[in-house]
Amino acid sequence: MTVLVLLLKIIVVTGIVQLAVAYLILLERKIAAYVQDRIGPNRAGWHGILQPIADGVKFILKEDFVPQSADRALHALAPAIALVTATMGFAVVPFGPTDPSDPSKAQFVIAPGIDVGLLYIFAVSSLAVYAIVLGGWASNSKYSFLGGLRSAAQVISYEIPLGLSVLGVVLLARSLNLERIIDAQADRVWFVFYQPLGFLVFLVAAFAETNRAPFDLPECEQELVGGYHTEYSGMKFALFFLGEYTHIITVSFLTVILFFGGWDLPFWISREQTGFFAGLAKVLVLLVKAFAMIVFMMWVRWTLPRFRFDQLMRLAWKGLIPLGLANVVVTAALVHLARGFGLARGLQVALVVFWVIAFAMLGGLCLWAIRESRRRALLAKSL
């Protein structure tokens, strides 16, 4: 019985993720178009809603060629690894409320009770580096090779800040289990307020991990023709694309779960509410938050210019890693103080107040800085 339920969950989640990925490509094209003062695909169905299906048919019917002296086995293996590792990460993502004390209730996660959930996700998505490296190598072309190398170096470098930035969250929630992390946020405040620096580092590292602008040097067309997926066509290329967008979904879900409270809405939805409609509401809240994060990622893509490769590496090693380490040290000290002296409640409030003030100051400084830079630009223009 449990095996059947498990299979059903796997099929539902994987199916929905694949469909979502196909429609994310349409969403990306639409957002890109709207930002550029035009409308995107609107010929295939109402406002382009059938465009992913048209794309799917196109990919399937395209001729699949392999470069002459390429390694055929690796050439076929690389996109498969990309898709599989990205999809495997969904095994521990909680889509809704979970209650470990009552196993008879429906658990909104494929594999409930994995106590190393976060570690599992990082481990599995790190395997995606193999897909990039093999894809670049197996294509037997210099563009693919360079693109693959650059991309692999980028992904590996940003794994470290990614891991460091969530250590603060793990310390606060006292668990690597994603469901427990959401519960900890539901009991208190969203972790983005406790860990704004951790959130920023995680955000930047997440953009870089998914090869997403402004870190998309390895795959942009101006630089390397197509990077590691230059020599791919038809379904294999589609699989690379699917793998990349699945990574985007995984990373958005992770951000929402780790920093924005998952299914938690502070005044309306809380942990105690169970039952069918509450569960549905929680799932909807999580999906809306993840969707907002995805739209944000696409919005940033069409705003920021690309990093040059050396700037990218310098940002990772000389910028994000020290910041991540500093964040871990400060958080650990504060958590230890809070628990050691038993001033749990008071320090929590102090922590929240401190970061809220910091946010407000940050906002004020931002506005001042924008005004200042405008003033300077005006000055320079008048010379």
Partner: protein, 188 residues
């Protein structure tokens, strides 16, 4: 230019303070710009569904036409000025003695290859008798290359189709005639 040229302005890069070097204010500013563009009016025109007419048909360079004069004869005198001026060498003329008493030559055969044409309008500028003009008709289609070589009958028929909608583009005087203002100055 030498570095001390007075026309050269030397600018200092604005010094960024610590906060600006994080680029966070600039990023937020940029997100505002893109967000604003995402919600403002779009410029896309749904072309086949919304028909398009050029803003100024008299300036638009579309398909050619051969004009007729008041008596319905073709205006062209086969002087070959347009064929010589054409950068794409797409005009083919065969001249013959004109059957009318007031003209020496007329084009027995006049063909323009509309596919080679670059629609620059040099032929229209070169013509001394305002015989060839470019209309505002741009929706040119054909199924074969041969049918896109417009001969004299086709070009005259374009004129017949458009003579009511679009007037003659040029001022209406021939080179031999001096315009009225200059004539007065000469007589003074």
């Amino acid at each position: 230019m030498k570095p001390d040229d007075p026309d050269v302005i030397w600018l200092e890069e604005p010094k960024l303070n610590l906060f600006e070097r994080l680029y966070l204010p600039a990023i937020i500013d940029g997100l505002g710009v893109t967000g604003r563009h995402a919600v403002t009016k779009k410029m896309t025109r749904q072309y086949p569904d919304e028909p398009y007419q050029p803003a100024d048909p008299l300036k638009y360079r579309g398909v050619h036409r051969l004009n007729r004069d008041e008596q319905g004869r073709v205006k062209c005198v086969a002087c070959f000025l347009c064929a010589t001026a054409c950068p794409a060498h797409c005009i083919d003329i065969v001249a013959a003695e004109a059957p009318w008493p007031d003209r020496e030559k007329y084009p027995e055969h006049f063909a323009i290859d509309e596919l080679r044409c670059i629609y620059c309008g040099m032929c229209e500028e070169a013509c001394p008798v305002d015989a060839i003009e470019l209309t505002s008709f741009y929706d040119l289609t054909g199924l074969t290359r041969e049918e896109m070589v417009f001969d004299k009958e086709k070009l005259l028929s374009v004129f017949d189709m458009t003579k009511d909608r679009e007037p003659l583009r040029t001022a209406g005087f021939r080179l031999s005639q001096v315009p009225p203002e200059e004539k007065e100055e000469e007589e003074k």
